[in-house]
Amino acid sequence: MTAFVVRRLITALVSIVLASAVVFAAVLAVPGDPAAIILGVTASPEALSALRTQLGLDVPPVERYGRWLARLVRGDLGTSLQFQRPVADLVRDRLMLSVALALGAALVATSLAIPLGVLAAVRRGTWLDPLTVLASQLGAAVPSFWLGLLLIILFAVELRWLPAGGFPGWEAGPVAAFRALLLPVLALGLGQAAVMTRMTRAVLLDVLRQDYVRTARAKGLGSTSVIGKHALRNAMVTLVTMLGLSLTNVFIGSIVIEQVFALPGLGRLALSAIGNRDFPLVQGVVLLYAGTIVFVSFVVDVSYGWLDPRIRYA
């Protein structure tokens, strides 16, 4: 098991470094000078060149990337060109929000999808199954930003139960944070729930057809035991993969949702950093995105090994 974990860990690190190099190159390939964007359209050439030197933009790109990597090893992400604050600080504030949003959405998605998917599979042939399928098809078809706007119109503009967007900060207390995040979490989580319900149903239907389930039933086990102990456990590997994918999905999907709800999350930070050619900030944010995605798939990989001993030895 240890060798398996170490192997996966090395792959993960290599992926992160590769991702940062690709992003560095991509941002460089797009025209645009951060100094020009900061100074605005009436800047003089002298002011431009002074600011470029001050921001360290006169250093050749490869050397800049090298310096960035060297600092990264020491745990230093550099300073944002636009905000003149350490990237680590900026990113830390934002990451909390994006993680809360993603976890909340994943929680909404799984707590709806697994019971509904199981129910639809078990009650196949009753009215419940087609209803679930229909609802989940509809849910999967609605884009999250549009669902977000509908939720805003209903709960913020019409009913005035919740704020239309923005985030008061964690220091405003858990209730205020919960109120601010409820609509975005739903907008992000419901679509994901729809996709996951369909997958849970399909996986479980497949497992329920297997011989060992028939054997278990033949032994006279109750249906709770058959589904809980035999069917669901064997469906677990697929369900965990799905959960990992959906976490990644909601994390990426949060970029759009943060824009719609004006939330100060990692996604909006990334968009503004790219727009302003704030290289250190783009690098820092992408590193975090890559890191999170790699971490999630690492956990998923390792949990396969734990759930299914056959994978460990493969």
């Binding site: 020009a36 605005g40 359209v41 002011a47 604050r85 119109i153 239309a164 923005g166 824009q259 100060p264």
Partner: protein, 501 residues
Amino acid sequence: MQRHVRWLLSAVLTFGWAGCALAQQEGPTPGGSLVVAISADPPGWDPTLSTSQEIPRVTYGNVFEGLVRFDRHGTIVPALATAWTVSDDGLVWTFTLRDDVRFHDGSPLTVADVMAKFERARDPDSGHVNQQYYEAIASVESPDPSIVTFSLTRPNRSLLYNLARPDSIIYPAASAATQRSQPIGTGPFRFARYVEGSEVRLERFEDYWNPELPHLETVTFRIISDPNTRLAALQAGDIDLIGAAVPPEHVGVIDATPGLETHAGTATTEITVAMNNARPPFDDPRVRQAITHAIDKEAIVRGAFFGQGTVIGTHMTPAEPYYLDLTDLYAFDPERARALLAEAGYADGLSVTFELPEPYPFERRTGEVIAQQLREVGITVNLAVVEWGTWIQRIFLGADYDMTIIGHAEPRDINIYANPDYYFRYDNPRIAELLAEAEAARSAETELEAYQEIARIIAEDAVNVWVFSPANTVAVREGLRGFWIDQPTPAIDVTEVFWAP
């Protein structure tokens, strides 16, 4: 939302008082808070280090002040200086400072702060932007702790105007390095908190030199980039004021919402179709005139902006003192446009690339309509949307483009036509001569004539197409008083804002 509950309560109480309260005068009431929407994070908070309009929108008049300032009508009024005089030859300007001004860090304003400011403003290594505003200043001296004199190399009529701009604010001499992240000014509000991407909070400054201002306790500027989200936040009661550029299509919705209202004011923005005057086919004035004739500006304002704007014919808006109506010079006339194109050798049509800046929806929308209008006179238009960083780099700084469209928001910036390296690549030495004449003018009439002459020459040369000046539409919650409706300079000045009782 909480405020609504409070209002409801006070309404009930008022009724209980059997009309007593109705007789009350509607004067400024102190206290309360305000939430304002803005659209983007600025690149730091120091207006002397970046020309981004997002900085003065929050800080002008609220956090920072200069010797003089613009009021809501664009009139130059005293701020940190109580009075000023000019010598007869126009070469010495003398300002008297207020003696009761404190900065937000508690230190008093001194002449040393004022002198340090103008040292920075003229030092090419300081990073201070728009140094051309201070070019004519030869030296700044202080013969007395309350007097500052500017000695000029040449008469400079626009000096006072430039001293009122957001670039000319004064902060403590030693704080220049930290102003970007911790602004310290003399304004009625001090900078309390900034959460990037989320909000900026200003709090009432107790030691403000004018004891009657401000009225509000706190002002929060919420950063909401999406206009639809801004609208929803206003309707939901999360924000109280959208201080600039409400999209015209939202005006009807807001006016129909009980408790909300819009006000249409003026701004100094010219939505400009810029043409690369150095590059064929735009190096032929007939082509530029043809393009001007081909564009139906009225139809754009009516059709795409619900009538919320004024058609213009040169680089000046009716909100400015030198305004000259030249809209009839090359009026909409597709026949004339085709004839001019034929005369210029493009009888079989021509093909141009028209690039629209991604972050500006008004310009993009205008550009799309214009492309259609140009196609109708036989011009093939290749439309492309360019991202902002690219626009600045390639189009604005590199002048590598055919045609683009952008709003020139700065007030009094007709001087850009005197610079042959500006992205229009318009080279006419006469403009620089006239500008110098305007600066050296001994009377307001001569100055006005010189500016209007510039406006006329660039219009006759059809350097660009000046399409219209969009109205500055402000959306507010009912009961808010004292906000700016016009934008003589880009600013959401909340100094005099209060909630009606």
